[in-house]
């Protein structure tokens, strides 16, 4: 059963103990019928769902509100709403007030949230609209009515994203281990250039060919903003994932 609070549909997951696992989706749609349907589609696809009725509420939940709304946001935080951690946002295009396109732009403009994939839903199959959304950074565009096959496609994309991120993390930790070993063996300081160390270690590591491109990625990454993956990595090419994060769901690196 779901409770309704002030425009939110909070759907407690039956396996709420594994909050770390599973994809958490924020669904935005002004139509109650569509919210119910998308919620069910996502839950039956093993996703945790929070459904809201407007872009404004979505931004509030994410903690992305503008300064003028500080008074209302402080009252909502006293009501016990923590900032939500979501893995995916799926939003309707046509909504009163803030459209799905405007919501998409606000999310992509935010340094904290631009990593989160955004999917747009629309009942109108307008090519110009689809192009505009994809250009603004939407991962995918679904023509309504949304079906199980659409949600499955999204789910598969999220799973492949997770695999890529795990692979990248494994590469980072294996390169760190190799660096330490080299340090022990040759008594080198860590100030020596990471690219040369990693290129020598990559030949001994059993990881895929993407580790060979590891040094070539680092020069292009210096101007990039901090990404969600950069927090734990000590070495410089920490936001390895940033060139690939904008992949559309039908493509692979």
């Amino acid at each position: 059963m779901s409770e309704k609070m002030d425009g939110f549909d909070l759907s407690p997951n039956s396996n709420s103990d594994n909050e770390e696992e599973g994809v958490h989706v924020l669904a935005v749609d002004d139509s109650l019928v569509d919210r119910k349907v998308i919620e069910r589609l996502l839950k039956i696809s093993s996703c945790k769902v929070t459904a809201v009725d407007s872009g404004w509420r979505a931004l509030k939940l994410l903690g992305l509100l503008d300064e003028e709304d500080k008074s209302s946001s402080s009252s909502s935080s006293s009501a016990g709403f923590d900032v939500l951690k979501v893995d995916l946002i799926i939003t309707d295009y046509c909504m009163p007030g803030m459209t799905g396109y405007e919501l998409l732009k606000k999310i992509k403009e935010s340094t904290t949230f631009r990593e989160i994939p955004v999917v747009i839903m629309s009942s109108e199959n307008v090519v110009a609209r689809i192009d505009r959304c994809l250009e603004e950074g939407a991962e995918d565009f679904i023509v309504k009515p949304v079906k199980l096959s659409d949600v499955k496609r999204i789910r598969d994309y999220m799973a492949s994203r997770e695999v890529r991120s795990v692979q990248n993390q494994e590469e980072r930790s294996s390169s760190n281990i190799n660096k330490r070993k080299l340090q022990e063996c040759f008594d080198l300081s860590l100030s020596s250039s990471p690219p040369s160390i990693s290129s020598s270690s990559s030949s001994s590591s059993s990881s895929s060919s993407s580790s060979l491109s590891y040094p070539s990625r680092s020069p292009s990454l210096t101007p990039s903003p901090p990404s969600l993956f950069s927090s734990s990595a000590p070495c410089s090419p920490s936001s390895l994932d940033s060139p690939t994060r904008r992949l559309k769901m039908t493509g692979f690196d």
Partner: protein, 158 residues
């Protein structure tokens, strides 16, 4: 005693659904909704459809109110209501209702009041037919569940 009716009810439901599909009243999106119904959400279809009925009747009242107003001119507002109606109808698979909304919207975009009035009448008729048929379907489903319960009382404890 009631048990033998379960199969008959199931057959009747299938027949009614087949008719509704054949008439174009429902499309495959309704089947999609049925696929989303299971033990964890046993009344999903009727819940969503009841929300749809509630919202649709509000929209129909609004549309009628707008059009019957002698000084009516807000076709844009009517368009917004129609878009909502179209969207929710398509989400539950109410194909004929949705198609009438499309025609209604076309008349509205041409500021054709007479055309809108005709479309509204047709829309109300189609909506009524859909509602009646879906109620029939849900009643049969309820009877089937009850009859199945009587037939296999032990299974209710599962």
């Amino acid at each position: 005693m009631l048990g033998w009716g379960v199969d008959r009810l199931r057959a009747d439901m299938s027949r009614l659904l087949a008719i509704l599909f054949h008439q174009g009243v429902l499309d495959e999106q309704f089947l999609q909704l049925q696929q989303l119904q299971d033990e964890s959400s046993p009344n999903f279809v009727s819940e969503v459809v009841n929300i749809y009925f509630h919202e649709s009747e509000k929209l129909l009242r609004n549309l009628r109110g707008l059009l019957l107003d002698r000084e009516f001119s807000d076709y844009k507002k009517m368009g917004i209501h129609l878009n909502q109606f179209m969207g929710s109808s398509s989400s539950i698979g109410a194909k004929r209702v949705r198609n009438v909304c499309v025609a209604f919207r076309a008349a509205s975009e041409q500021n054709n009041r007479a055309g809108c009035l005709r479309a509204l009448e047709l829309l109300e008729h189609e909506y009524c037919y859909l509602k009646n048929k879906l109620h029939e379907l849900f009643q049969m489903e309820q009877q089937r569940v009850l009859a199945a319960g009587v037939r296999y009382p032990l299974h209710q404890q599962l």
